[in-house]
Symmetry: D2
Subunit: 304 residues, 4 copies
């Protein structure tokens, strides 16, 4: 048995120096966060390993956008699965809008009058929809024939005027999947076109071929989840088809396991399903994503 080592802070520490001490403490939140960095490092250094990243929750309104873009530009991940909301927030910022620091106790009726959509304590200006409507409308011809959601999203990334998560995915040829894209502001803007009698061919099941093919042909696979929802579950599902299941896993969530939903399920549950290899290195970190993501990324940046 290893003793719990007490963290010592005697001088200025870099994030990675602190994280190493957390890993050495070995237990509870600190120990798990330290372990998460070690597993990410092993995963990224394993040349045979395809890295699947699942992103859910308000990461863009939470200030994580540049880190996510970095991850793409570094080519640290091979597949991204995310929510329509994240892509909407990202596109909004690419079109020049910003999210704002707000107040969780604000009067929501007042916010509504001011055109501010509240996301816990950040605000999205509602006029983001106007810019997005114009953008989707003016490019609908390029989008409407995309057979898969991924092709639709890559095209959106290609068209995006400024730096964005979608553009970084497109430019670095990282497949980005979003099964529930219709459940988002982008979806609403597409609906606006459909409501005018237009059509869009994009198929609901089409992307399964690509994500499962990537999993199927991967010598090894690793999964990283910030938040749960469809992004986590869609990757987990693909792992069922990966020859060796996932060999690495890191999950960061605030959801609890007892209600039984996929979002809060411990990674070990995936072993029963044949999603996670029984010999995999994995860890569940119960932490706010906006705290864990910058710490994990800063520590990895020092190491790699």
């Amino acid at each position: 048995m290893k003793p719990v080592n007490h963290i010592k802070i005697r001088k200025t520490l870099t994030v990675n120096e602190l994280i190493k001490q957390m890993g050495s403490s070995g237990v509870l939140g600190a120990g798990r966060l330290g372990k998460a960095v070690n597993i990410c490092e092993a995963m990224l250094n394993d040349r045979q390993c395809k890295v699947f990243l699942g992103l859910a929750g308000p990461l863009v309104p939470g200030g994580m956008r540049d880190i996510i873009i970095d991850l793409m530009e570094n080519k640290w991940v091979d597949v991204v699965v995310t929510t329509g909301a994240t892509l909407t927030h990202d596109l909004g910022e690419a079109l020049g809008y910003r999210h704002y620091q707000g107040n969780a106790d604000a009067d929501d009726a007042e916010l509504h009058k001011k055109g501010l959509d509240r996301i816990y304590e950040s605000y999205m200006p509602n006029n983001i929809y106007e810019g997005m409507e114009d953008f989707i409308a003016s490019h609908f011809e390029q989008l409407k024939d995309k057979k898969s959601i991924k092709e639709f999203l890559w095209e959106l990334g290609r068209l995006t005027p400024n730096k964005s998560i979608l553009k970084a995915c497109f430019e670095n040829k990282i497949p980005v999947f979003c099964p529930a894209i219709s459940d988002s502001g982008i979806g609403l803007m597409v609906w606006g076109q459909l409501a005018m009698g237009k059509e869009i061919e994009t198929r609901a099941f089409e992307d399964l071929k690509e994500i499962i093919d990537i999993a199927w042909t991967a010598k090894k696979a690793g999964v990283i989840y910030f938040g749960g929802g469809v992004p986590k579950n869609y990757i987990q599902q693909a792992m069922q088809l990966a020859p060796k299941m996932a060999s690495y896993g890191v999950q960061v969530t605030m959801d609890r396991p007892e209600p039984g939903g996929s979002s809060g399920a411990e990674l070990k549950e995936g072993i029963s399903w044949g999603k996670m290899n029984p010999k995999a290195k994995f860890v569940d970190v119960i932490c706010d994503a906006t705290i864990a993501m910058p710490i994990i990324y800063a520590a990895l940046k020092e190491r790699i």
Copy 2:
């Protein structure tokens, strides 16, 4: 100000008699559960109100299937949005499989050898996929031309040999939406067909027309959420287009609001977005869905 009335249990109580006392206590979990029943009752008795039901989480493995089927057969709801997992679990049971009482501390590697997929403390037999594969394969011709996911699901309901949530939706003409259907066992079975070179036309954005049309034309709207995820968010999004937004709202969740995700967001946040009417009657109940759903339904059954 109303005083907190202490709950008195002097004799055998029906569920509704207890719930009335909880409502009269007025505060915390009990008060909110009581209020939830009152709001559901008002919503169901309001002839002008279209009721949108969002279902996420392991409700079928959690023993809620017959209650959900009842809700459809009673025609108490006008729209259902759910996850692919719920429809997969439902279809599995309709094909003769069962879920089993399990153990959250079981050895997942052992379960994997036995072909049992763990959902916290319930088990799904993995051979459910075999029956489902046969079923989808043998009916693929009827499914492959469905333009919308809802049409695909209604057809699945029509084809289902036994009672099921999907069949109840089909037979009672209740639109059932599942934006992320590809993220599920049903999705995997469809992929199996695609992998053999077949095609399926079902479009990703198509259903938006129908759900938004229902919201748009509703004189009033009410929302009931068990769990969050895409089902909640997809209904919330439709409420943005409802002329009066939602006039009633009940949410049952174990997710917390601070991480900022849609699943844990308090209903009042929707006011800022124009999803929830500032004058709406609504309540957030922080409770396991498998506890709250039978209680709410049993109390409503006594009242209506």
Copy 3:
């Protein structure tokens, strides 16, 4: 393996009829709540078993006071451990004050001006302290020589003018422990006397003799926890000295286990400590106490 039985609500159900079905469903929140009632029933029917009840959280402002008094008057429990806050709320009501239905979003500065102390969404009128100060001051002579906290509390119960939890404990000779009594409104009122130069003999460690003696001489022991905190931990500690440890255990909490604190710890953790018998019947119910307590009590009332 037992299949998950789906709950069927075909007609008016009593609380116990519903709970039996929840128990038969076998899993997740519903299954655990059903199991909790079964374990409580077995514990109460086991003549050899001493029942230790731990109560934490705002049970009195949450409407649970009459149920708790009933438990004492029924002599269903042999030992109670609770918080100073619960006893303060109880004493306040015994002195004629009430708690009020409030609003979690109220302006706390406004409430302060109105003399309303907020407990999430219930309010305690601040003038409760005035009545309590008079009460403690006028009876300080009878209280100041009590050697143990339990004797202090029984005397308080004896002196209480109306029905109360403390009075029910006193009258039914149920030992009531509150190690952190100084951390409460009652504590503040005692401090008021000390500030005037008076003294109170009550000793901090004295009660350990009695609670451990009860545990030590119990043929069997059972524990029921609503909330965690000191009440749970103090009982758990006594179980270490019970010859057979706890043979039955029911815990109702909303705290999660991962931070590692006693309040959220799963009951099984107690096995490692020698607090819980490895063969004990026990269950953790993740549920708001104000929801679970009336349901469990109503179901038990029907059965016993």
Copy 4:
């Protein structure tokens, strides 16, 4: 309105450099953690401010012991309130025992046979009690006449052979309060002496005079809570007597507010009680203490 600034990690960052960016992002977990450091800094730099620190949860088995000792040796805090468990874990380590890195999924019955007491995923060797029993027994004469729990604890600190939290409190004359000291391993060891017929004078209410006097005479007060329980509540109670209430507040917890208990209550609730000044700077950080504490302390160390 301030925009959400996206965190940029372009090079090696110190912890404080990262925290500043988190603070600048402004929202959700990251923003709150950044704000917590700013408030702690302001509190520590305010010469008029008395700092009250509440510590609950398994901080010593979680690797935080040296940080806590540092806080005392730096004289950054004026009052500490903690749990008996923390002081027991601390004393155990001072006597030469260690805590160990464990496994939350371990077989608790096996651990019991091996004499390992599980605290989520850390282990305390049960033989810690033997050393502690000897220590308390051999020093009981010096302890038994201490009139207050604080005096008892300072004496324990004085007697402790090695560096410890208690010794650091004693040596730096920092009052350390523990209302529920009887609810702990130390309490059990004292009980062992009582069981042999000895007596201990320590009084339950005595410390109220000192903590309230410190609050009463403080020109300004600040509160820092890691975890809730009695430590938080006991400080909050003292704030009711502070002339200006608390002017600064930082709370780190994983408990949620809706069940209504003190541990999960948002700091703003304290405004209604007159515990928190309506103009105070305060923040609730929803985070594991073992993650937040080293980060906050490392950032402060760089700044101060």
